[in-house]
Amino acid sequence: MTQAPVLSVEALDVHYGRAKILHGISFEAKAGEIVALAGRNGAGKSTTLKAIMGLVPAWAGRIAFEGQDITGLDTYRIARMGVGFVPEDRRIFTDLTVAENLAVGARPAKDERKAWSVERLVAVFPNLGRSLHRSAGHLSGGEQQMLTIARTLMGNPRLILIDEPSEGLAPVIVEEMAQALLALKRDKLTMVVSEQNLNLLAAIADSAVLLERGLVRHVGPMSELMSDESLRVRYLALP
């Protein structure tokens, strides 16, 4: 018997006002898999993640999480079902301490996996442990990005959507990020990562979905994208 995919997006349409942003997007994420959402600026990567999270309304199509239809649900319900969201512009609560940021995200686990705790998170993101009681606004860019991921993990999600995790980070920090995400993958967490940094994707992703101007242009294993230069040139303008 085949298991239902953790996430399935079918023929998703999204409009902003009169402008149509997504034209019938479809893809899947299987359990424990990291799906790369690749594409240039404005391809619709962020909008896709926001639509899954219910932050922008889906005009047409169907989104299912573990087989259950979540299209049109309130954002907080989607989050409570087990979908985590890490926004692109970090959006940590700068007025709160690091520990308080984590506490906002805390929700009990709903499956047999070991629940996340502050101690476990500190093991994955050692920098956060050193500044738990400092104001989150004083963290460096990289630490803030780690905090957004850690904060989402506190809700014990089974799927997390990460938007542009490497944006604005130094290469050495991106490497740390990749290690952290791989650690999460070993914990059987399913992820959809929107990203422009191919090196990061190559290091972590199992499959890739190529977006261009709101359309899915290609779906396949990450290794295929890395070996097929013509694909990369055509849709990402990268050799």
């Binding site: 954002t75 907080y76 609560f93 007025d95 709160l96 308080e100 906002v104 995200g105 929700r107």
Partner: protein
């Protein structure tokens, strides 16, 4: 001149601190609600008033229980008002979550009107005297004076409550979520927090604090129907001076305002009203985000929904307008004096609304105090006519000139800020103007106003005045329209939509907005001057908050996304108000319901709804 002796200083300071506590109760709730929901809750004063009335009723029913009855009534009133707060949130504000911030604000003003008439219907127009607080009825001797113990109790309430709220926000999960949501409520929802429940809880807390403040006033002052607006305006001042979202700031500001009032009454009884707003103006001019505020909280107050692009009038609309002008111009041939009087008034309101629309729709600056310039225009024309005996043309020039000058001064202060802060500062400026007109009896006649402001012939007749009004208002509306499509109008809209990019493309954003403020003020002055002549009198109410809100309603009723909107809104609102005030006993409540219906059902206004209908028809015609 009062002699300052140590005991007078001490007693006035204590009086100031006692008032500060009740002010803080109201202001803290206002601040918490604004922080989380971004709703500027005009109805907060109504919660306060309801707390006082409900407390009064409860103490009468529970009088036989002694101390328990009194304190139980105070707490009970606070809890009931908290429940009313939840109702307002659930029934009204929840439906407006995605609307521009001005709509919830107007909706809460609708609630104010409904509560006013409800309180009038339930408790009657007479002031009601509450009981003394059992156990706190005595006095203590301070030097040679006696000071009520209850006031000392109130002084302690403020800091105690501040401490309690601090613990609530630092030590509980609810407080944690409130602080997080104050910063980024969408992110809080994405982390699995039910925003609606959080909002309801926040409204409960905020409303209950206001209700408690009202109920605690029972032993101090008579309960009356004017408590709501006066306290909410003071609470606005406190929140803005202290810094939006800062409870410590709210307490410090409440103490500051309380002390200023206590000593102001002693030394400058004639300008106490002005003094408070003057302090607010000074604080905001020096620290635009208040004493303890930070700039982040000032974002928001979108006035215009996205993608409302102005279009020049189509040929058919031009013909329609020309026909309207001709029809009104021909009214002396067929219409009666009453009808002509009404139409002249509606034309004047249209200019008033259009001038606010210029500021708000094109400039993105929502003014809560636009009536100030309307009123200054009215006083300008009236004084020129009666005191100075100027010819009528000079009087009609004095109106926009006076209002424009006031606009230059007010604009200089206001355009340094944006969003809610700008709105609040404009409110403060307007309140200064209102208080001046009210208290400067020698010139303005105070409450009695200026009477006998009738235009000389040939404009003394209804028909003559209608034609004068038609010519001037048509010219004013046309000029505003031309200005909107001039390079200045483009610059103004660019400054509204993308200030940084406008700045980068060579537009001096602040100067443009300042000029727009002065222009809008001058046009409001035109309307005010004509209004004085139409009514034959001028009163301080012309500058009152309710008049500013009238203008806001007219603009939103007509639809902010169109230049025709304010004109249609003025005719619809003016007509409705004339009809209601003449016939319905509870016209305020009806108006309140109309406002609620408007913002909930048709937030894009009349022109928005019409535009959609026309768009649909064109679409179906195109596809057929």
């Amino acid at each position: 001149m009062t002699v300052l002796t140590p005991d007078i200083i001490l007693i006035q300071a204590l009086n100031g601190l006692a008032s500060a506590s009740s002010l803080f109760l109201v202001a803290s709730g206002l601040s918490i609600i604004f922080g989380v929901t971004r709703v500027v809750n005009f109805a907060h004063g109504s919660f306060y008033m309801l707390g006082a009335y409900l407390g009064w009723s409860l103490t009468r029913h529970l009088a036989s229980f002694g101390a328990f009855g009194f304190w139980g009534s105070v707490l009970g009133a606070a809890l009931i008002v908290g429940g009313i707060g939840i109702l307002v949130e659930m029934l009204v504000l929840r439906r407006l979550r995605r609307a521009p911030e001005l709509y919830p604000l107007l909706a809460t003003f609708g609630v104010v009107l409904i509560v006013q008439d409800a309180a009038l219907a339930i408790w009657g127009p007479e002031d009601l005297l509450g009981p003394r607080a059992p156990g706190l009825t005595g006095f203590v001797s301070i030097f040679a004076s006696r000071f009520p113990v209850y006031e000392l109790f109130l002084i302690a309430v403020g800091p105690l409550l501040l401490g309690g709220l601090w613990l609530l926000f630092r030590r509980t999960r609810f407080g944690l979520l409130v602080r997080a949501a104050t910063q980024d409520r969408e992110m809080v929802a994405a982390l699995g927090v039910d925003e609606r429940r959080l909002f309801s809880n926040v409204f409960f807390l905020g409303a209950a604090l206001a209700g408690l403040g009202g109920a605690l006033q029972l032993p101090r002052e008579a309960v009356n129907l004017n408590m709501d607006v006066s306290v909410v305006v003071e609470a606005f001042v406190v929140v803005v001076v202290g810094g939006l979202g800062s409870l410590v700031g709210a307490y410090v500001a409440a103490v500051l305002i309380g002390i200023i009032q206590a000593f102001g009454i002693l030394f400058l009884p004639k300008v106490t009203l002005v003094l408070v707003f003057l302090v607010m103006g000074i604080v905001l001019a020096v620290r635009p985000f208040g004493l303890f505020g930070r700039s982040a909280a000032s974002e928001g107050l979108r006035t215009v929904a996205q993608e409302s692009v102005l279009r020049p009038l189509s040929t058919s609309s031009r013909i329609l307008f020309a026909l309207c002008v001709l029809l009104i111009g021909a009214m002396p041939l067929f219409a009666g004096g009453y009808a002509m009087g009404i139409v002249a008034e509606l034309l004047i309101l249209a200019v008033f609304a259009a001038s606010l629309h210029f500021l708000m729709g094109l400039g993105g600056m929502a003014s809560f105090g636009h009536a100030a310039f309307f009123g200054i225009g009215a006083y300008g024309a009236a004084l020129a006519l009666t005191a100075l005996q100027w010819p009528i043309a000079a009087c009609l020039l004095a109106a926009p000139l006076g209002a424009g000058l006031a606009g230059i001064f007010a604009g200089w202060l206001c355009v340094r800020l944006s969003g809610v802060y700008l709105a609040m500062l404009s409110l403060a400026v307007a309140q200064i103007a209102w208080a001046t007109s009210f208290q400067w009896v020698e010139v303005t006649g105070g409450d009695n106003g200026i009477l006998g402001v009738w235009p000389p012939p040939p404009f003394a007749s209804r028909s003559g005045f209608l034609l004068l009004t038609l010519v001037l208002t048509a010219a004013a509306l046309a000029s505003l329209r031309i200005a909107a499509f001039s390079p200045f109008g483009y610059a103004l809209r660019a400054a509204r939509d993308a200030p940084r990019r406008a700045e980068a493309s060579g537009i001096h954003v602040r100067a443009t907005q300042w000029a727009a403020f002065a222009i809008a003020a001058a046009f409001a002055g035109v309307a005010g001057g004509l209004y004085a002549l139409a009514k034959g009198s001028v009163f301080p109410t012309y500058l009152a908050i309710s008049k500013s809100v009238d203008a806001l309603i007219m603009v939103l009723l007509g639809g902010i996304g169109s230049l025709t909107g304010p004109i249609i809104g003025a005719f619809a609102f003016g007509g409705l108000e004339a009809e209601l005030m003449a016939s319905a006993p509870f016209w305020r409540a009806i108006l309140g319901v109309v406002i609620l219906a408007l913002v909930i059902v048709a937030p894009s206004g009349i022109t928005g709804v019409l535009g959609r209908q026309i768009g649909k028809r064109q679409k179906s015609a195109a596809s057929a």
